[in-house]
Symmetry: C2
Subunit: 424 residues, 2 copies
Amino acid sequence: MVQLLKEKLQLLNCVEKHRSTFASDSLMVQKIISVISEKGDKGVREFTNKFDGVDVCDLRVSDEMLLDAKIQSDSKLQKAVLQASDNIRLFHEKQLPEGFDIRQSDGTKVSFRWRPIERVGVYIPSGNFPLFSTVLMNVIPAQVAGVKEIIVCTPPGKNGLPNPAIMEVCRMLGIKNVFQVGGAQAIAAMAVGTESIPKVDKIVGPGNRYVAAAKQIVSNRVGIDMIAGPTELVIIADETADPNWIAADLISQAEHDTDALTILLSPDKSIIEKTISKIQSLLEHLETKIIAEESLQNNGFSFKAESLDECIDLSNIIAPEHVSLHVVEPETYQDKLIAGAIFLGSETPVAWGDYWAGPNHTLPTSGAARYKGLLSVFDFLVSYSIIQAKDADLLSFDAVISMAEAEGLAGHALSAKLRKGDDS
Amino acid sequence: MVQLLKEKLQLLNCVEKHRSTFASDSLMVQKIISVISEKGDKGVREFTNKFDGVDVCDLRVSDEMLLDAKIQSDSKLQKAVLQASDNIRLFHEKQLPEGFDIRQSDGTKVSFRWRPIERVGVYIPSGNFPLFSTVLMNVIPAQVAGVKEIIVCTPPGKNGLPNPAIMEVCRMLGIKNVFQVGGAQAIAAMAVGTESIPKVDKIVGPGNRYVAAAKQIVSNRVGIDMIAGPTELVIIADETADPNWIAADLISQAEHDTDALTILLSPDKSIIEKTISKIQSLLEHLETKIIAEESLQNNGFSFKAESLDECIDLSNIIAPEHVSLHVVEPETYQDKLIAGAIFLGSETPVAWGDYWAGPNHTLPTSGAARYKGLLSVFDFLVSYSIIQAKDADLLSFDAVISMAEAEGLAGHALSAKLRKGDDS
């Protein structure tokens, strides 16, 4: 369980090695995309039969089926989902940017504007754990941005129907078009369009390595949110941290997937040792023990650092998806960290961000936090500019002409000369 | 010159065909990336010798060389470049977003923040026309965003040195690290890092199809701005438009590249015919005649629509890089268009946006305007979230627990239960 590493370099090598194994199986996926481009719905049905083992007649989930879907549970869950939706909606509404109109000093009028993407496809996987929270996290930001048409693809289960909780949350959010198609074939269908499944402008949502490979390949013709690798958590703990809570957070990350990467950094060796022993006891009766145990065994690491500052530095080299600060005065460090989401204080489980707090749980993995943010309304908005030279100073024409001539673009210069009234 | 098409579908097929020919030569580029990963600077020098035909000893342009570079021209040009820089800087400063901190109704504290990317690599091509304006358009937004380290790669010319105007503008903007490396080898070097060239977090800037292919391939390990295809312009003109100005704008787009796509849409057939004849006469003595003529011949199209509304609809199906509205009251249409940049009124040449107005000239091509905006400070900023559950209502823990249990994620539920004080 959770290997205790002696050397900083050893830790970084483990992370590097872990991340590099997720190279995608592009060739097979390329083939799937070609087949679906050619055969449309027929191709989608063939791959659904092959990979999901079910024959699907209508790719679109019927209105009746969507209406019948019920989360098998009490009203407490319903209320929780509604409140989580409100939290997510508010957080994303606050992100909505405004454009602006300005006049440059020469009189040129310029504007910066945002418009929503017209049609978005959301992919919701349904592997070990069908995550209805992923529907909330992908659909609500698109709705807040003002996307007119949102479709969802999600794989059919062995009974030939998508997961009922996923369908119910889709209905709750007013999604009318849910397609029972999964994997690379779903990504291909949304990228190229078939008889049943409309071609979308952008595809968002997580998935396994085939889904990731398909998104990478189609990204030259439609927008994608990001290529998601396995989930990652770095916990930084000082001597005040509670090993029981750290252990639970590491387990909660590890249970997602045997490939999940979990790392504990601390200047306090006894915290690490106690955490490792707590993991053992907490796992004992846990329903997800098998996955979590294998994950922690293979991809769980801990490291005793010299100081908290060294923990921060190490974490920033890794630039993980989640960082959790089990330290006193966590606010001191919050803006020094490179990560998709930062959890402050041991009172805050990572699960708080997965379900509840409001910020998106779709986050950059594999070090992408260095250049990519969390999913937000900006992923569903497109910026554009408006330029008007009508009131521009005549001297500006000379400036544009001299720059165009210096670059050798005679036609550019000509287009300004003609407006200025010069004949040639 | 500029084919006049009879059928709407014919126009859309031409656009589709044009765009689909720019599939990238991935295999060769993949090889270049592998070699540079292995051999570092040595590999870069070999490819520079092979593709640029020069032997480069120091990959980094020396401080002296950078200091010596001069645009061969008058002070008018210098002044123009400075004023253009100010316009660009102001427009990008206005884009700077603010984060926010909010408390959800249950007491959970959440923040949305932006931080600059740490290290950015800018690629500046140097083909038919070395465009120093591209340095302004890529470096200034990064500086405005607060990027600490900006490096530039640009190919060496036959004399073994990069274009002097490009070097001078780099110096003007305070860029210290300019590398004389071009093509796919430059992209590879910035993505993986070599002895001389640092690995960057994100690569921006235009380039030929090899550069585009390299950016696509490395996009799973570093950020990229976008994959740029050939430049595109749709002009929509009504009967009030000046065929001379339309012709100049089409030529200015076509002269970039024989692959540039230029389209004129008008409900007025005589405007189209007059424009075609004006193109002939304007080209007569133009220095860039050869490229512009070939470009317009192969990829210049015009179409007589039924109405202005049909022109708008057609343009939106194409979703071009630039749209220019040579119509009365162009403001009426400005927010109905899907394009990277919109030019209002016949008084506004596209060149105004290329050099002067302030909005970025790096724009989405090949229909990407449907899901991708213009280059902006947002390309150099990364969003992240901060989540704190310390003051959250106890009932929220029950909500998180019930959602986690419904998803089957027992460890997630456990991590909330422990905080709430439940033992199991």
